[in-house]
Subunit: 491 residues, 2 copies
């Protein structure tokens, strides 16, 4: 199987596309820019959902569901929001089809035109704040801490599976607060949750920071982001959390009576991650043999493969394999025993490598005799022989080790590809020849930021939260700067 | 709170609407016919999803995700399907908005017209079978057992929260098989799963049966249904499972090579339940005090309310309450301890009655002294005093008993409202004055079925799977009939 993958070093982009298809994660559909998420890809998304959902609930959030459609006029209410989102989107104009009079299939019924067009949600701030208006009268109704799991549509011209598709799945949190401080605290808490999830489940180290004015979410006063580095040296924005101030409350006239009896507009946040995370997961860890999945998000953590020639051999091996499977499952580990007889062990080995199953156990007749088992790690592609009696404990600690190793490897890669650059020629040279994260000084103006983007295709990924004060000169203009910001070319 | 509900016996329909709103389950949105599912309603849907998903996976299914949009022409491919679904639906015709040149908000950009209109999925057979075409070559690729959790849109003219909305949430299973027998077996298995879920989780007894030709899903050879009886004597179709034969395989040219090397079209099923189930849940069990939820689907199974006057009393009660909460949670029971001091115990009692929390525990200073606790059941509205030391075991068995009692009550109601009718005048009289399920003879023709519907507004809910052969005469025409079918007025 793996031989069908383009070499990662030769053509990273083609390697990615090949991998998504060959590992049965997703494919394009008949609808332009929309993907089919196949069962294996969706199983990873289910893991992501399940873990994030627990984290959201542990931080006091509840789920709800708001309409797919948003009246067109809602977008005009918030001045910045309309610029950002009321552009490339799917517009519903009619509500009926009818038989074509010439008998050639069906056509849109022109008499069924909507009075006001509906936009398929690209994000739900407007429809949600229009609902919150009726839910909030007093400070006693606050905070509202709601999350929604949903599909959204942004009509993208250039699409890539998982990374940028016209329809994608995501979650969007929308919270309402009595004070600015509380809303900012929520914004920061949720970027913290995302960073925690990225590092501890996806095994991807991230830089937490705030976006520049230019890169903010349309309608936000501040956008927090987590930025990850992919293996080709490009950055990927993996999650964002927005402090929306009172912008949406004002746009939808949502006021509340505070403790002192005074009327004020409600403070808002929103935050989201999407199926794009699966693209990040693939690009951060995988290799020329296929996917490398962190055990905590792998749909199947362990696969057991019997090596046999006769039915009799298979029977004895199966007995042992099923016992091990049951023992591992009792420890909460997901196991597949693949005793199909229409594929060779070699084919199966390659297939599970392609699919990124973290641990592979192989049992043959000789193992049975010796009381041993062969254990292969997907992350390092190494094998060892283990006593059968110690296998469950071994696998348990091995999964922990693999999770840690994948993270450490990604961290090491990021460290090796993070540079502090002070001269323009070096900045350009680094971008062209090395890629990676670049910490450089910037004079703080949108003009310079856009000029740099135009000249180098690199953007300011964020102003890192933990960046130290350091006097310096802007990489482009030489004007004074108080701290370094994070530059990179990005997905 | 409860006093705001319309009396169920006076105006059942208004009682239902009141209850959905007052219990904070859902509300209408700014978009015609689309609802907002509020956190409490959504929490029930999450329980439904979680249990059904486990059952689907236990029967070998996996989840995937297919596009929201379907090219218009796909609907024309299957002749019956187009009649059923390509009518009242949301049609996307454009993919861009722009600023109005007169400066008055935004308008649809006429230059961004789609070559082919896209329909927001009312159901996904067509887009899914168009994908399956590429996935299936040989019998080795079969069966495909996929489910999808998704939103769908059917442009309804008359809507009711949960029961009939333009957008709703559902799951749709779409399976592909090598033989007709296997597909029929799957169709029957899944209606069995639905019946199991309805009876054992929702506590609603259902009649399993097949629909008449007239009431079949558009494109199906057979539609299996589960039919439930609501408290106002009307039937509600709670889930359907369709044997689609080779119709969609032929429409999308999906052929496979069987074991003998012969080409044949693939056999299909589809099956679904939706947020409508929440409407059924409300209507089957609730009363004039509010919701009555079966413990297995209640977001909060037990609420503990402290009765106190002083801070000191609250402190001692909280200590005990938190211990009980922890003990119950350790048993997997969901508990809320409501120690808010801005509402009276009486207000809280009424509120949790309205919300249908199955068990309410109240602890006051006297209880602390006596080592007792007051236990109230939502289903019977009865109270008893229990020794504090025995409370966890008591609550555990009480939840089981409540689950059983709610089902038995619904079953008794159905039995009391199921009638065998043989004369037309009695048939009409029963429908007009009693409602309920009516088993009557029918001559088997669509013509008679439609005539009965026209005359009485009752429909054949199904031909029950367990109905016995019994010679009789059609209730309307007097023509011979071999078995009784199930009639009712329905939602």
């Amino acid at each position: 199987m793996a031989k069908f993958l383009t070499n990662r070093e030769e053509n990273y982009s083609q390697w990615y596309n090949d991998l998504v298809i060959k590992a049965d994660m997703a494919e394009y559909s008949a609808v332009r820019g929309c993907m089919v998420i196949k069962p294996y890809g969706y199983a990873i998304w289910e893991k992501v959902q399940s873990e994030l959902d627990k984290m959201f609930k542990a931080t006091g959030h509840v789920n709800a569901y708001f309409p797919l459609f948003i009246p067109k006029s809602f977008f005009s209410r918030e001045a910045d929001h309309v610029k950002g989102f009321a552009k490339e989107c799917a517009v519903v104009t009619h509500y009926r089809l009818k038989n074509d009079e010439t008998g050639k299939g069906i056509v849109v019924d022109p008499t069924a035109k909507l009075e006001e067009e509906l936009v398929v949600r690209p994000t739900s701030e407007t429809i949600i704040w229009n609902s919150y208006k009726n839910w909030i009268q007093s400070y006693r109704d606050l905070p509202i801490l709601i999350n929604q799991w949903a599909n959204v549509v942004r009509w993208e011209m250039r699409t890539r599976l998982f990374l940028r598709t016209s329809e994608f799945l995501w979650q969007e949190g929308h919270t309402a607060h009595a004070t600015s401080e509380e809303a900012i605290e929520e914004t920061e808490k949720m970027i913290g949750v995302y960073a925690d999830f990225a590092e501890n489940f996806m095994a991807i180290p991230v830089v937490k920071g705030v976006k520049t004015v230019n890169e903010r979410f349309a309608g936000a006063l501040d956008t927090y982001t987590i930025e990850a580095l992919m293996q080709d040296g490009k950055a990927l924005q993996a999650g964002t959390s927005h402090f929306l101030g009172q912008n949406f409350a004002k746009a939808f006239d949502v006021q509340f009576t505070d403790k002192s009896g005074k009327l004020d507009y409600v403070w808002a946040t929103s935050w989201g991650v999407s199926t794009r995370l699966i693209g990040a997961l693939i690009m951060a860890h995988s290799d020329n043999n296929g996917l490398v999945l962190p055990p905590k998000l792998a749909p199947t953590q362990v696969v057991i493969i019997p090596i046999f020639k006769t039915e009799e051999q298979l029977d004895s091996i199966s007995k042992e394999a099923n016992r091990i499977k049951a023992d591992l499952e009792a420890m909460g580990i997901s196991v597949k025993y693949d005793d199909r007889d229409n594929n060779t062990p070699g084919f199966k080995f390659a297939d599970y490598e392609l699919k990124g199953v973290p641990v592979r156990l192989a049992i043959g007749p000789r193992d049975l005799k010796n009381g041993t088992i062969e254990v292969a790690r997907r992350d390092t592609l190494t094998k060892e022989t283990i006593q059968m009696s110690a296998i469950t404990e071994h696998v348990k600690s091995l999964l922990r080790e693999i999770q840690k190793n994948i993270f450490n490897k990604a961290l090491r890669f990021r460290e090796e590809n993070t540079r502090y650059v002070d001269r323009w020629d070096q900045f350009v040279d680094t971008l062209d020849n090395e890629g990676g994260f670049i910490y450089a000084h910037w004079d703080g103006t949108t003009e310079t930021e856009e000029k740099i983007k135009e000249l180098t295709k690199s953007t300011i990924r964020c102003i890192p939260l933990n960046s130290k004060d350091e006097e310096g000169k802007c990489i482009l203009t030489g004007k004074p700067s108080a701290r370094r910001v994070l530059f990179a070319r990005a997905y």
